[in-house]
Symmetry: C2
Subunit: 414 residues, 2 copies
């Protein structure tokens, strides 16, 4: 049984979020540096905790999960560098997104502000804690984190180091970051739509699906990554080969790896292309049981299509809305594909593997979203913000406008 009351935690996070909303960039940046320094100073303590987790997990989890769970000097360096990177990003809060004079002396502004309280549910990747904590602090959001049980000791150690660092930062509010550990906390978190404004699940398909099915809180993320590459009749063979091999083999378990190859029936080098894929160890499946399957392995479903329209229709039917690419030398086909395909990323002559916040130059990434609202594609700090409208008046009333004594005279000031 947990030694805490989840609703109290959620309430306190909400209170903290209001204090964060008015916190200066300076204090937020000091907090980030303090965390980076503390992680470096106390990394041995974290490695010790990690060893306990690794020992308990050994034999019970797959090698892939074991690798994600394991922290070493390299990962710790990346964690610390990730915090420094967020420190160096512009403060996304308090930006004037629009400023408009409605009439003389009546000015409307649209100002970026934090969302409020984020609920983060992640699996066996303890490095998520520092990454999300840094992003949350910089964007003035409070956050409640729930990690996987495999990494509970590591997670506790990391959070302890972070909290003790934050405790020494003048003016930094309490309860900005809270971690919960019990399995029931996931259910509790998903029910707290009164206090939690956004849920970000970081993990496999089934976790994300479960979260989406079980909450009224907006969820930012993606379940599947069923990415497609369409080799047009007018494709360049060398580009097609290079892009397909990269998108399938460079990191097959990544969500932006290709799962389905659509190939125009009149592409003359079709057989050479398929042979090239087999040569690098890709297994080709011509009649898959489902076009919805994410292989996350060196396996590729292949379909011949009679036209670019059929390819687009296939993608818009079976894609998870993540990332798709066309390989063609025909500008018109490229342009049709890019406007008609309804996915968060649509590429021409480039590998689907580019779908990533760091590669896009966002500096840091919350995750990749396949949502059709709020934020789509790789989400950076901006995805953790919303805005409010302010009006600066001088005793202005609506009756003057409704009754014709005054007239609006909208004029953008920036």
């Amino acid at each position: 049984m947990a030694e805490y009351n989840f609703i109290e935690i959620a309430k306190n996070a909400k209170i903290a979020s209001k204090k964060l909303a008015v916190l200066s960039t300076d204090v937020k940046n000091k907090a980030l540096l303090a965390i980076a320094e503390a992680l470096d100073a106390k990394k041995d303590l974290i490695f010790e905790a990690n060893k306990v987790d690794l020992k308990e997990a050994e034999g019970n989890i797959s090698q892939a999960v074991f690798n994600r769970l394991k922290l070493d000097e390299n990962k710790m360096r990346d964690m610390i560098q990730g915090i420094i990177d967020v420190y160096e990003l512009d403060d996304p809060i308090g930006k004037t997104l629009l400023q408009r004079s409605l009439d003389t002396g009546l000015v409307l502004s649209k100002i970026s502000c934090p969302i409020g309280v984020l609920g983060i549910i992640f699996e066996a990747r303890p490095d998520v804690i520092s990454q999300i904590s840094a992003l949350a602090i910089k964007s003035s959001n409070a956050v409640i984190l729930k990690g996987g049980k495999e990494s509970v000791n590591t997670n506790k150690a990391i959070m302890q180091v972070i909290q003790s660092a934050l405790g020494l930062v003048d003016g930094f509010p309490d309860n900005v970051l809270t971690q919960v550990y019990s399995r029931d906390d996931v259910k509790e978190m998903l029910a707290q739509d009164k206090y939690i404004d956004l849920i970000i699940p970081r993990g496999g398909n089934s976790l994300v699906q479960f979260v989406k099915e079980n909450t009224k809180i907006p969820v930012l993320g993606h379940a599947d990554g069923i990415c497609h590459i369409f080799i047009d009749k007018y494709a360049d063979f060398e580009k097609a080969k290079k892009i397909l091999i990269d998108a399938k083999t460079q990191y097959p378990s990544a969500c932006n790896s290709v799962e389905t190859l659509l190939i125009h029936e009149n592409f003359t080098k079709k057989n050479e292309l398929l042979a090239a894929l087999r040569d690098v160890g890709v297994e080709l499946i011509f009649n898959p049981e489902s076009w919805h399957k994410e292989y996350s392995d060196k396996i590729l479903a292949v379909k011949e299509v009679a036209s670019i329209e059929t390819a687009i229709e296939h993608i818009n039917t079976y894609s998870s809305g993540h990332t798709e690419a066309i390989v063609t030398e025909d500008r018109e086909n490229a342009s049709l594909f890019m406007s008609a395909v309804d996915s968060s990323g649509v590429y021409h002559n480039a590998s689907t593997r580019f779908a990533d916040g760091f590669r896009y130059g966002f500096g840091a990434e919350v995750g990749i979203s396949t949502n059709k609202t709020h934020a789509r594609g790789p989400v950076g700090l901006e995805g953790l913000t919303i805005y409010k409208y302010t009006i600066q008046g001088n005793g202005d009333i609506v009756a003057d406008y409704v009754e014709g004594r005054k007239k609006f005279n909208h004029k953008d000031l920036i």
Copy 2:
């Protein structure tokens, strides 16, 4: 029983949405003009249908609902003008929101695109149909509309006129607008998260609350409008009086009318201010049963507070996140209030009644949102869009960057 299958309708709307996504501005604008002309030419047919509804409703509904249901020449002129206004707005689709060179010959663009399929649930206001249809067409979204049963004849007549106009527009796809009429359709609509991307409820508190409680689809809107005005110790009496009277009496049933007056205990003209409110027929309640109540009438809950901090805390606890105002001559207090109050609109020395898309200069309004994600405050066409990322490459692969043969060189092009 309905003579149609809701899932078929939803599927067809999804198909239509893909065609809309690539439709030219020209065809969309022709469709808008055709609708405006047809409504003007066939308004008598619509007035006839409206009379049937009015006759059936008489005695069974309140005067306010009757007034909303009733169409006359003035309302029809506004409906038609509303469509022309949307026609004149810039196309919100296909805008380049960001363009960044990732490396030589590798260009990332962020392009605005439609959300997909909108589900609109509205009560006895048949003019919503033309307004939402125009906004949906301009933003390339398909829409399924479900109106109130009181206006079913009017709704059918309006939709018939719109559909026959659209049928004559060259290149305009079928099934962009569909109306459903059965009560069960609301439940069906809320369940179609596979086909419907966003639900917009337009109606009273209980409708919006019901929708939010019963769907996994994102909902854009607001349930309550519990707006606050805080009269600071440093308030100017004349401004306070003018703003309060406007915000409470100019249109008491509007969602942006004030419901709670917070007044600093050291504001010297407190009694005069309360007397002025009573003079214009406002009933003051000093110990309301709940601070969460929306009166929608000339009733105002009043609370004395000892400090601006208490006022802010009260608002952040009880507000519905719609619109709040501070009346003060003190710049620091105004600035604190505007950054600390977490609502979609926060005003200094202006009436809360300004919270409105037309007054903000958006040209048209989908509604007002109190969401913390996607769109907040009065929502214009932009709230019906999302974006996709495109990459234009030339055979580019990620392995070149991971293995150090190439380096990203992010440079914004616009």
